[in-house]
Amino acid sequence: MTLAASVREAMLAAVPSLRAFAISLSGNVDRADDLVQETLLRAMANIDSFQPGTNMSAWLFTILRNLFRSEYRKRRREVEDTDGSYAESLKSHPEQHGRLEFEEFRAALAKLPPDQREALLLVGASGFSYEEAAAICECAVGTIKSRVNRARTRLAELLAIDSADDFGPDQPTRAIMTASGPR
């Protein structure tokens, strides 16, 4: 069965956010795009199980998140990450995200535990409610809330944005917060 135009449009509309989520999870644009591709293929193959009228974006995020998790687990089994090389790969390729000004932010994000990072990205950046994020991560709403809180607190510490004294003119991440209009 071919995809209805409305379904196809809804899928494509979710792609930019899916990519942002995938890049933030994997730290690598190429792997992220492969993840998005795999997500779309799975979604199309299982389009019968998508309920029209429900949130297409949340459905796709759920698929992508599960794919990333199983790939991450497999990778951990294949290559013992005892020296933290996988964790290191999440933060050692600034050129792969494109903009250098986000390097400090990406490095901080990579230091968060995966559960917390994922929760923060869903609620803080992807626009999902706590309830939607809980459904995507298959956990309780309270769990998501506490993960997001811990992630925010840790991130604020890592970026030192809780202190007025640390605002310097040459700190790129801080520059974003003070930027006016599109650059």
Partner: protein, 69 residues
């Protein structure tokens, strides 16, 4: 959208017991959004548009085959 962002955090505004002030939360939220918007602004890469088009082409052919047999 990002204009008039205050550059100073009122340290007194911090809540006790390690909880973040609203202002810190707002700043963090803005960085997160800017980080995601950086990728979102790239739109939909052609490979994904083509992927969906190809899927429909393949399945339209299958549907036709079924219909004519």
């Amino acid at each position: 959208m990002r204009s008039n962002v205050q550059t100073r955090v009122d340290v007194q505004a911090r809540r006790p017991r390690g909880r973040l002030s609203r202002e810190t939360m707002n700043k963090l939220g803005k960085v997160l959004e800017a980080y995601f918007d950086d990728v979102r602004s790239q739109g939909v890469p052609d490979r994904f548009k083509e992927l969906l088009q190809q899927y429909n082409k393949d399945h339209a052919r299958q549907d036709n085959d079924k219909g004519s047999s």
